[in-house]
Amino acid sequence: MIPELGHFALIIALGMSLLLAVVPLWGSWAGNFAAMRTAPSLAIGVCVFCGISFACLATSFLQDDFSVRVVASNSNSLLPPVYKFSAVWGNHEGSLLLWVLILSFWLAAVATFSRGLPTVMLARVLAVMGAIAVGFLSFSLFTSNPFARLLPGVPSDGNDLNPLLQDPGLIIHPPLLYMGYVGFSVAFAFAVAALLGGRLDAAWARWSRPWTNVAWAFLSLGIMLGSWWAYYELGWGGWWFWDPVENASFMPWLAGTALVHSLAVTEKRGLFKSWTVLLAIFAFSLSLLGTFLVRSGVLTSVHAFAADPARGLFILVFLAIVVGGSLTLYALRAPAVRSRIAFSVLSRETLLLVNNVVFLVATLTVLFGTLFPLLMDALGQGKYSVGPPYFNAVFVPLMALLVPFMGIGPISRWRDDSHHRWLSRLAIPGFIVGVLAIALPFTAAQGFNVWVALAVLLAGWIVAGLAADFRERWARSASFPRALARQTPSYWGMVLAHTGFAAVIVGTVATSQYSVERDLRMEPGDSETLAGYSFHFDETLRVRGPNYLADAARFSVSRDQQEVATLVAEKRRYLATGSVMTEAAIDGGLFRDLYVAMGEPVGDDGAWAIRLHYKPMVRWMWLGALMMGCGGLLTIFDRRYRRQRVAQESVTTHGAPA
């Protein structure tokens, strides 16, 4: 009964989103305000019914209703309840339902928090998002129905969730990532609505900005969690593989980063309007492309649940409609919204333009590397794979190129600036950073390393720019606390995000350069010293978990005769599927991680293949990404966005809406 209820709710949601896509849009065409005003209620209705549908599927999982096909294939009565819940999106059908649910959250959020928008604008934005919802709801209903039953022949128990997905990180990674992915649909909807109305102005950018920032922040956090999960769960200590599916989430992030910055220019200066619209379309198209790559099974990856050509074709057609339609609209309408505002070569506008070009080129090179194997395969040229060396060779120099401009960014002025001013503000901090960059790597256990020095230089340069800017702000205030209190949330968001970026640079380079990794054959009693840490293999144990049995290896780690940590790595065999999984043991710290993972037993005398890692500063990367995400979220508390809402409300109450 419950699955049928869920199925029915999903059908109602589809019906309502169809209405949402058609009625308000027709209203905005015909000038019918009653039709336009239906949009927020319909949006909330879609959200309610998607919520009911999702709750029904979750209930089926929690109640072990193995007559539902996805439950039977992805859950098991022994599975701990929290993983039964996360198993809802640990499969193709359920993760698509999550996609739709999150889209409906965004719909409801826009409907609730944008009451201050002109009625026509809000109607158009919600209608565009409604159309996207129609696409995905029909995808879910017609090609991947999560409520399909296995009748007759209900299995007595389920197949279990893939053990790799039985992890706390995986409970929140997909929802966060989808919040980001799908969040760009809001920026997209605002862009398309503005094109439909032919009015792109600072107000449009101001409406669109907080939504874009939040989506970007969620995407940052989602990608960070994915990387962290890969690090401790996949059992080989890597944190980024340039896997096609990682790239699928990374490309919208790169385009989104460009969008966040170009929106700033559009809001503050009324420039780059057409460009910003194009970026919004681009970012959302990449989200859709990512969904296609992941969901169609054309790629070899952890995330490819199952291959089904019909599903791939559906998303491909949908992608073509969205991209083709929005670009056609852009071609027809964009010339009407072109702006002519001058700025000099040395100005904040130029620096942000550099940001945009770098991020766009980075997106395109990643896109190229990701699609190259598909392209060659389609042309019958053979099955290629493009490995991490390609992406590193292209991506790292691009980011390095970006940083010099990023340091100047905060102190630069709009419209017109001078290099004398930049020089006077940054010469001394720059010099200090240069000295630090040479000095700091000497303090590392492994000694001086030129790449680490360069990373410190780049990261320090970013921080130096922020510091120089804050000094100027301080000078304009009466006292230091007053200077702190006077700055806006937008400003602090920027500072946090940029500092986070600096931390990511230091973390990635230090861990890539200084890591020590060793795969060994070890017996209980053996010791191995790595970067000054002595790993002693104490004993092997047998461990019993709720739904698995495991061999465990206990290691005590010491340094200079002092006990540092006890690490217990496991090799688990899950009872339902019999699949084997490595559970690494990690002693984490701000400056170094110690990592032990078990391979397979070697020989007959109790020896194991053991992987030992010493990873310095690897956590800076995730910490940095966390700071970027929080920075993005912080910006929405800016009073500027609220004030505009109040002003809008007073307009709508006192006079006729535009």
Partner: protein, 157 residues
């Protein structure tokens, strides 16, 4: 040269974008040349179509009973088949969790003069039901040419 400031500015922007993107394209092409590798099914390797001492990928099923481990190191040797031909693979290191005899695998490395693949990376499938597409295709083609797959491994497609 008298040029309208707005035009000159636009020229600068366009020029820098052109220079910058061509640099990026150059970089990408250069990086791509050394870092892509082609997939060869065992049949193609046996026929001598795969280049020696070049990074390639070979995939298929691990033949039952072919996995041999050294006692004193992490060296492991196994045979990969597409049911039409086989390739010997040597690897030193930790194999992925889902590596097993009779299961699909992709090894990347270089072929030596004896036709043995010296692998520096071995990838197995990520979950029970999933088969890397290139392996599935290679097995399909291999099997259509040759005999019963059951002869080589108990698990068949």
């Amino acid at each position: 040269m008298a040029m309208h400031p707005a035009r000159r500015q636009r020229l600068w922007i366009v020029l820098s974008i052109v220079v910058f993107s061509s640099a990026a394209v150059g970089l990408a092409t250069y990086a791509l040349r050394g870092n892509i590798n082609l997939f060869y099914p065992p049949k193609a390797v046996a026929a001598g179509e795969a280049p020696l001492d070049t990074q390639i990928r070979v995939g298929g099923m691990v033949v039952d009973g072919s996995v041999k481990r050294a006692d004193d190191s992490l060296r492991v040797q196994f045979t990969v088949t597409d049911y039409a031909a086989t390739v010997e693979v040597v690897y030193e290191g930790i194999l992925p969790d889902l590596f097993a005899e009779g299961e699909g695998v992709v090894a990347s490395g270089r072929l030596d003069a004896n036709g043995m693949l010296r692998a520096d990376e071995v990838l197995a499938k990520h979950d029970e039901n999933y088969m890397p597409p290139e392996v599935a295709e290679a097995l399909e083609q291999g099997a259509s040419v040759d005999v019963q797959p059951g002869a080589l491994g108990e698990k068949t497609l």
